[in-house]
Symmetry: C2
Subunit: 347 residues, 2 copies
DNA sequence: TCATGATTCGTGAACGTTCACGTGAACGAT
DNA sequence: ATCGTTCACGTGAACGTTCACGAATCATGA
């Protein structure tokens, strides 16, 4: 083993701060120049095989790893995407994350993931961090355009589940209109008129799903008002259970319920059964997500399935467009991902 | 709006490559020096408030964002963690990811997430990428120590769910021995003797849970052989269903089944009920994970719950130790995270 | 008038890598 | 002997930022 030159102790510091081993250290040990080391580790040509091996050996004994910062500074490639997920423990968002990860990986992009835990404060922090550490951001963001602009100034930004009309940034929406239309066609076709909804957004916040739910209610002229929409405070089974309790208390004659998402719908089923109601005979329950979890509960959940892979793909493509093209293409008429009704037993 | 100095076109290239706007551009526009710009954007002192505002205004009009590479090069802080998850759409791993994300965030670390999709090839790719882009790696890795050393040379590495005896790298294990002991105490206490297992690893691979299952079988002297362990090819409900079919075909007199994880156990329940068996009366089913999903199925799943947050915390702490301390502290006698038996209805 | 200090700002020099060049040696052809 | 070519390798310069230092300005006091 070659002797280590221990010339790192310049100042009389008791324990000299461990300096990073650089390409020059390797060069010195191998008896060559920086450039030759670079050639060796990057598989460039113009190098003698023997020298290459000697250099690589030197990198090993020194435990050398090139600085990603210095490397990133020269080569301008290397794209890092920031992903803000509102709750990774929700299987739906996990699926979205998987989709984004997969599509980004195809392009050789790295993805830094942040979980905002449904907290707008955390979301802002995530935006702050990612606007420094990433080249673009994709996310389920609750903040207003102003907030986003303030905390991620000048960043390419693609919002998930927002229509192009709801933000001036890039966006990939869910076609809630088409989804609700399918839901109501199915439910009214089965004879339902008194249909309620368990929403996932607070009452004072806009909610595309609630909006289109009410639009369908109007379209079918159902005997149902805005108070048939109960807002759940979280996107969880527990919140769905509580919401369903509230809905049944207010409108015991409801015969069908549309959940904001599958988790809430599962909660609705549980509450219904706990209160002695049969699903779907006494009350039908319809979810919105398409989680595989829906197949496991009793009864299996009928749901508007969202193609998360498609969602992720579209989002990454938009980012790519914003990154390359100078101008943001204003969402080419696409209303977003179209849900598909998956019929199971619950409705 | 101040006029843009368009001096970027040096060579007569038709459309001059869009150069990055640097701190010098901002300095020029604001009529100050680099250093003053740096002071303004980093909230350092020694700057006139008026100048600061002028500089910040300039950054806005130019859409300037500091290069994370140049920044990372100077300030030596900024730690990026690589996280390799074998299947993010499995709620268990999603929870682990959430835990790591959360603990890493507390330290101000960024996390690049890779999903290896249970593919060792993908896992190696992830290692390759992360060894360049991260400062340390945490992961559920299937590869051998040799493979890991080859694809992440010199990297601080912490393996999840491996005992310190199973790898020379850092590791945070699950105390499968303690878990299985609890499981068998419960099952034998309920009178079970013919206990089977649905394993999650291939037969030819070591599996800590299988090992300790068999150890318990021996300890209680049960009339059960190694062929009472059926290996499932995936960690999914479907695989559990198939595995349970195989187990019931081979040993119709089995009265209790331990699943490798909750998903497989849920599959076991479904197969059992499909075949007309009552759970837990005819066959008891016990999971291993502690997913919240377990509360939703029929009957609710009894399971050995793993504290994923603890797992993530320990892993990050080990990384921190490896990053600061020169030597890897050889897993201070800790056997890892100890599962806790959560009694529900299925066993 | 000069020293003193505080405030505000600018000037090289680094951080570690890669790119565009340049150089010397070896070799063959003329 | 001269030239051109190829091969293997080395030398500044650049990437964009921050740090350590120094300098200019102004006010204050003796």
């Amino acid at each position: 083993m070659p002797g280590k030159h221990d010339e790192r102790q310049k100042l009389g510091s008791p324990r000299a701060a461990k300096r990073r081993t650089t390409i020059d250290d390797v060069a010195k040990l191998a008896g060559v120049s920086r450039q030759t080391v670079s050639r060796a580790i990057n598989d460039k040509g113009e190098i003698d095989p023997a020298t290459k091996e000697r250099v690589l050996q030197a990198t090993r004994t020194l435990g050398y790893r090139p600085s990603r910062f210095a490397q990133g500074m020269r080569r301008q490639d290397s794209v890092t995407l920031g992903l803000i997920i509102s709750d990774l423990s929700n299987p739906y968002f996990a699926e979205v994350a998987v989709a984004v990860l997969e599509v980004a990986e195809e392009r050789g992009w790295h993805v830094i993931v942040c979980d905002s835990r449904n907290d707008e404060g955390k979301e802002r922090e995530a935006l702050d961090v990612l606007s420094r550490q990433a080249d673009a951001i994709i996310g389920h963001c609750a903040g207003s355009d102003d907030v986003l602009a303030r905390h991620a100034p000048g960043m390419p930004l693609v919002l998930l589940e927002r229509g192009p009309d709801q933000t001036r940034f890039g966006s990939v929406g869910i076609d809630a209109a088409a989804g609700m239309a399918q839901a109501f066609a199915h439910l009214t076709g089965a004879g339902h008129h008194r249909i309620g909804m368990l929403d996932g957004a607070p009452d004072d916040r806009p909610s595309a799903r609630r909006e289109h739910f009410l639009a369908q209610v109007g379209m079918y002229d159902l005997p149902v008002g805005a108070d048939w929409v109960v807002s759940c405070d979280r996107h969880s089974v527990g919140a769905g259970e509580r919401g369903m309790d509230a809905l049944l208390d207010a409108h015991p004659d409801v015969t069908a319920v549309v959940g904001f998402n599958d988790l809430i719908a599962v909660g609705a089923i549980r509450t219904a059964r706990r209160r002695g109601l049969r699903v779907p005979d006494d009350v039908a329950v319809l979810g919105f997500d398409g989680l595989s979890l829906g197949e496991l509960v009793e009864p299996p959940l009928t749901t508007l399935s969202i193609d998360k892979r498609e969602l992720g793909r579209l989002a990454v493509e938009q980012v790519a467009a914003q990154l390359s093209g100078d101008e943001k293409p204003p969402a080419e008429g696409d209303a977003g991902v179209r849900p598909e009704l998956v019929l199971r037993a619950s409705a």
